[in-house]
């Protein structure tokens, strides 16, 4: 099999996540108790033995850099290959929906030309799934494709911001659309492309830098061999508060956890070395995910609780996502709440959001 290298795009417009992305990129949004969204594409690359990964950085990269460090956790701290941090550009109005900004590739062309891989996996950073790219790369090579787009068949509402594929009987992509057409083949923002073909695109469209790489692929479907690969495991997509909440709550489903946290293909993340979680005598926890370092003495039901959260006696938390280092005082009631890191909720506070419209609490606030 040909050598594969990876590119992860983290340069997104993420206005729909309100305060959650105020001082961090979508890629470093905390998820699932101990992860950040970027852990999923990075771990997929690690588990596929990809040893060179370029990361197109967002404008606001402090939080992401803090998380990525030297890349040791994803086996990218290496003499040969490893992480390459590629500067991303500032957004313009025309590119508000873009994920793979063409100009970010053009300005980082040396990474593509100098890299050792003949195949490149390009991934976004807001989709959550566990995949081995190697089997797809083998199919990609066998089919003689220039580009293979990875998709999942699923029901997705029309205004979701996703891309949808029309696929002909030979597995070839015939159309790329912004609205689903019947049986929705939702693009998972992940593709495999021959390096030569990526360089072709960068040359052909050099003058049209406001485009997205996907626009250029859509324009050339008749001449370039673009195939589709169906992924059938769990895939979550996060681009709004509602989808963030839904994907979080999905983790309470055993089948979802089994498809996401596969022992042979573990999701790696920065280790924090918190103590184990401690349950005190009045803890009452049901159907929840609890991370290390928590000290729990209250009621918790249908929740995702991140690291080092303290829940005091008499507190009742339902259907909520509580991020790291939050302190929840005695007799606090929370329902349908997303609480960012380092929040302090004073005793007796009651907050009720709804499933479709969860209340978000800003980082470091004191309520």
């Amino acid at each position: 099999m040909k050598d594969i290298m990876g590119i992860i795009c983290t340069n997104y417009n993420d206005d729909d996540l309100n305060q959650l992305t105020e001082d961090r990129a979508l890629a470093s949004l905390p998820f699932g108790g101990r992860y950040r969204l970027v852990d999923f594409p990075l771990s997929n690359m690690k588990n596929s033995d990809i040893r060179t990964v370029g990361i197109i950085m967002p404008y606001m990269y402090r939080s992401l850099m803090d998380h990525l460090g030297g890349g040791k956790e994803w086996n990218q701290y290496r003499k040969v290959g490893g992480f390459f941090f590629l500067p991303g550009s500032i957004y313009g109005l025309k590119t508000a929906r873009s994920k793979f900004l063409l100009r970010d590739f053009i300005s980082n062309r040396p990474f593509v030309t100098r890299g050792s891989g003949d195949l490149i996996v390009i991934s976004g950073s807001n989709k959550i799934f566990n995949i081995d790219y190697r089997s797809i790369a083998r199919e990609h090579e066998a089919s003689g494709a220039d580009v293979t787009l990875i998709y999942k068949r699923s029901y997705i509402p029309a205004d979701s911001g996703e891309l949808f594929l029309d696929i002909n009987d030979f597995g070839r992509v015939s159309n790329i659309m912004h609205e689903p057409d019947g049986d929705a083949c939702c693009f998972l923002d992940t593709l495999i492309i021959n390096r030569e073909m990526l360089l072709n695109y960068l040359n052909w469209y050099e003058a049209l830098t406001y485009l997205d790489l996907m626009d250029t692929i859509a324009e050339t479907l008749s001449t370039v061999k673009v195939f589709a690969y169906e992924f059938d495991g769990y895939a979550g997509s996060i681009n709004s508060l509602k989808t963030y909440m839904n994907c979080s709550i999905d983790l309470l489903d055993e089948n979802v956890r089994d498809e996401l946290f596969i022992p042979e293909r573990q999701i790696s993340t920065k280790a924090q070395d918190s103590a184990p979680a401690k349950y005190l005598p009045h803890a009452h926890v049901r159907n929840s995910i609890i991370s290390s370092g928590c000290i729990i003495d209250g009621d918790v039901e249908d929740c995702i609780i991140f690291r080092d959260v303290i829940i005091e006696r008499g507190a009742s938390i339902k259907n909520s996502v509580i991020m790291a280092h939050t302190v929840i005082g005695e007799n606090v009631c929370l329902e349908n709440v997303i609480s960012d890191k380092y929040v302090h909720i004073q005793p007796g506070v009651k907050l009720f959001g709804s499933c479709d419209n969860p209340i978000t609490i800003e980082k470091r606030s004191n309520i």
Binding site: R34, A277, K278
Partner: protein, 380 residues
């Protein structure tokens, strides 16, 4: 190589035979403790928090799991380009190969390793105690006293003193007498098995001890008495924190049960001097719809569907529907199947208590039930 002020040598080669089934397959320093930790984590974390960046780990008894766990030391930030962690097993020379015959003999065989760093002082540690200690404070004491050697000591109850190496000191904390497990102790200062030597003193005494056919090559039994008899400046540095030897099943069990207290004597949650471990990449744990967890410690990767009370649950443990776990320690990877009962027991790593089985120890004064790593216990 840059000269070092102080390097550490960590004795991790002992079997820990009193831990029974827990050390059947692995060395004692790598036995799990407190859910996600292994006993050696405490000493290694102390080193890094004390800015000691060069640590030789002496291994001998069943080292494979220990070696894999230590890896290159990066989990404790001990993968330093000048120094770092080095695993030191016994090796062969032109005059043949030998096992380490005692704690002092193990250091003797690694004199060349220590000389590479040309240290002024050498810290000797053992990898089988639970404690958080800043070795720098002890080193400062050692330097201020211009000591040849300093022993860390802790005050023990007079009725327990016969179990320890006891130091008698003068007003200046200089050791005047050392008695190993004395019948009639005249002091309550017990040696913690932590020593700082001036390297020139240590090297000389190791060479002398090696040539003494009557020596058992042990620091406590031979080296310290030899230094005192030579009237060298041997001092005792008093440590006030928590320190626990977990050499027996009972002390291993009790030390962990104490972690469940609201204000435990040993606080894992204390952020300064956080204990590092070579932690896995498991997802956070999941507590099921019908589960109950009270007064317990639970680690990443575990799934709890039954009842867990007053227990320590390690990494990647599974407790099935209808199962009951009480006053027990489940080591990493243990499985308690549906409707099984585990009471006052220690379940080894990846051991399985099968469906409907009852694996229970006796009440307070009776034995704790123990099953070793990877063993299965079936319903009678």
């Amino acid at each position: 190589m840059r000269k070092k002020e102080c390097i550490a040598m960590l004795l991790a080669g002992g079997q820990g035979s009193r831990l029974g089934a827990l050390t059947r397959k692995t060395a004692k320093p790598v036995v799990a403790f407190g859910g996600k930790y292994r006993i050696i984590d405490f000493s290694l974390s102390n080193c890094v928090h004390s800015n000691i960046d060069t640590v030789g780990v002496l291994t001998q008894y069943k080292p494979l799991v220990l070696n894999a766990y230590l890896a290159n030391g990066s989990a404790w930030d001990l993968d330093s380009p000048d120094g770092g962690m080095h695993i030191l097993p016994p090796f062969e020379t032109e005059v043949g190969g030998e096992w380490y015959k005692g704690t002092a003999d193990a250091i003797y065989h690694n004199i060349d390793f220590i000389e590479q760093y040309d240290p002024t002082h050498v810290l000797i540690l053992s990898g089988d105690h639970i404690y958080k200690m800043d070795y720098n404070e002890m080193l400062q004491f050692h330097i201020e006293k211009e000591a040849a050697m300093t022993v860390a000591v802790i005050d023990v109850d007079i009725k327990d003193a016969h179990r320890f190496g006891i130091m008698s000191v003068d007003d200046n904390m200089q050791v005047v007498k050392f008695s190993e497990k004395p019948k009639n102790p005249d002091s309550t200062l017990a040696s913690m098995g932590i020593y700082i030597f001036r390297w020139d003193v240590l090297k000389k005494v190791l060479l002398e001890d090696h040539d003494d056919p009557n020596s058992s090559k042990d620091f406590g039994k031979d080296v310290i008495p030899r230094l005192i008899s030579q009237e060298q400046r041997v001092f005792a540095h008093r440590f006030d924190g928590y320190w626990q030897d977990v050499g027996t099943i009972e002390s291993y069990y009790e030390a962990q049960m104490n972690l469940l207290e609201a204000e435990p004597a040993f606080n894992l949650f204390d952020d300064d001097m956080r204990v590092f471990s070579n932690s896995n990449v498991f997802p956070p744990h999941y507590i099921g719809k019908n589960a109950t967890v009270e007064r317990s410690i639970i680690c990443n990767g575990s799934t709890i569907l039954g009842i867990v009370k007053n227990s320590i649950v390690g990494t990647d443990v599974s407790v099935g529907e209808g199962a009951l776990v009480e006053e027990s320690i489940l080591l990493p990877g243990a499985v308690v199947e549906e409707n099984a009962r585990v009471i006052r027991a220690i379940v080894g790593e990846e051991a399985v208590i099968e469906k409907n089985a009852c694996f229970c120890g006796g009440n307070k004064d009776h034995k704790i039930a123990l099953i070793g790593d990877k063993e299965h216990f079936v319903s009678a």
